[in-house]
């Protein structure tokens, strides 16, 4: 599941060829996806992925809370129940992360992570089931961001200025290390986007220097070619198979 999430993040995010802050990510958004896995050539629906945004205020600052939840459909809960939360607290306009948290429960295997971003350093706290809590501080590139906030940063990118085949490199922080990712703009295609209907989308291919992704141009994301750039479809290829996330409903855009 970690690999799937990483793939999704990579696909979504690294589409940040350039950042234009002309569009703000608003609080109150809710994107729901149906997650399917390819079993013997047939797509089988496994889980629902929900991405939401909301404002969070502390005594001193306001943050945008970006949350990504993954829950298996009830029919799977008796066999392999998954309840994962990936969340990031970011600056409302720059989307620069301050805090990233991950809590996973996958068939009884649990893990909790907390990354505190400060300047060019990250302090991570990890607690795996049956293992004592560990803390680590490591340096990161100034542009490195977490796996959730990058999902939203890509929506600030102006893809209309990209040329087919153009590539760009990025870095994300995942599993207590920086991972370089390359993405390639592959033109436009029309895909189904849940309650938004059929939409013309930007097609992006993602490659990463990690074992989590497999194949050339087999990890793809389609973003609606409008101001919102909603991820409409994500296809991934990992060592244990292929799958997809299809948008079923989008609200609060």
């Amino acid at each position: 599941m970690k690999k799937i999430f990483f793939t999704i993040c990579s696909l979504l995010l690294l589409c940040s060829f350039s950042t234009e802050n002309s569009v703000n990510i608003k609080a109150g958004e809710k994107l729901v996806y149906a997650g399917s896995y390819n079993m013997s050539g047939l797509m089988t629906q496994l889980a629902q992925v929900t991405m939401t945004t909301e404002n969070v205020a502390t005594a001193k600052n306001n943050y945008l809370h970006l949350s990504c939840e993954l829950s298996t459909y009830s029919k799977w809960d008796s066999f392999f129940k998954i309840r994962d939360i990936y969340e990031s607290y970011v600056h409302p306009t720059t989307l620069k992360p301050s805090l990233y948290k991950r809590s996973i429960d996958e068939g009884g295997y649990t893990k909790k992570e907390k990354y505190v971003f400060k300047d060019n350093k990250v302090t991570s706290t990890v607690k795996k089931r049956k293992y004592p809590e560990s803390t680590k501080t490591f340096s990161i590139k100034p542009t490195s961001i977490d796996a959730v906030s990058i999902l939203y940063q890509l929506r600030l990118v102006d893809f209309s200025k990209m040329q087919t085949g153009q590539t760009k490199s990025y870095t994300i922080v995942f599993d207590e290390k920086e991972i370089p990712v390359t993405l390639k703009y592959m033109g436009k295609e029309t895909v189904k986007a849940g309650n938004l209907g059929s939409k013309e989308c930007y097609k992006i291919s993602i490659g990463a220097k990690t074992d989590a992704l497999k194949g050339k141009d087999k990890n793809l994301i389609w973003l609606t070619a409008d101001a919102k750039k909603v991820p409409a479809l994500i296809k991934f290829s990992i060592p244990v198979g292929t799958g997809q996330l299809a948008l079923t409903s989008a609200s609060g855009l």
């Binding site: 149906a34 079993m39 013997s40 047939l42 089988t44 629906q45 889980a47 629902q48 969070v56 502390t58 005594a59 001193k60 600052n61 943050y63 809370h65 939840e69 829950s71 298996t72 459909y73 009830s74 029919k75 799977w76 809960d77 066999f79 309840r83 939360i85 969340e87 607290y89 301050s98 805090l99 948290k101 809590s103 907390k114 505190v116 400060k118």
Partner: protein, 111 residues
């Protein structure tokens, strides 16, 4: 030949039952299709007094087909409201707010 067909028909019928019960959606049609194919071949290779077994196997696979089709068409994929998970989300959010305030305090102290 007939013994081989009996073995294959029984094997795929058992697989069809297993995948029909498990939440594999239309994936169950793979063993169902093979069970039907081997069941029909077995029927063809059987004498009049040997057709009881293939008939039973074909009936079982037909029931499996109807069951899987019914599940696919009538049962909606949904996520149940998990109170423990909902409570965990609330607690995580409260913790995060505290952690952000601690981080802000730390930055204030450094300034």
């Amino acid at each position: 030949m007939r013994k081989l067909l009996i073995g294959l028909a029984i094997l795929f019928t058992l697989l069809a039952i297993a995948l029909s019960v498990l939440p594999f959606d239309t994936l169950a049609f793979l063993p169902i299709g093979l069970a039907i194919a081997f069941g029909l071949l077995l029927m063809q290779k059987s004498n009049e007094n040997q057709k009881k077994l293939p008939k039973i196997l074909l009936t079982i696979t037909a029931i499996c087909s109807a069951f899987v089709l019914g599940k696919t068409l009538l049962v909606k994929d949904e996520v149940v409201v998990d109170q423990t998970f909902e409570q965990q989300k609330i607690e995580t959010k409260q913790e995060a707010k505290k952690e952000l305030e601690e981080l802000e305090q730390l930055e204030n102290d450094l300034e």
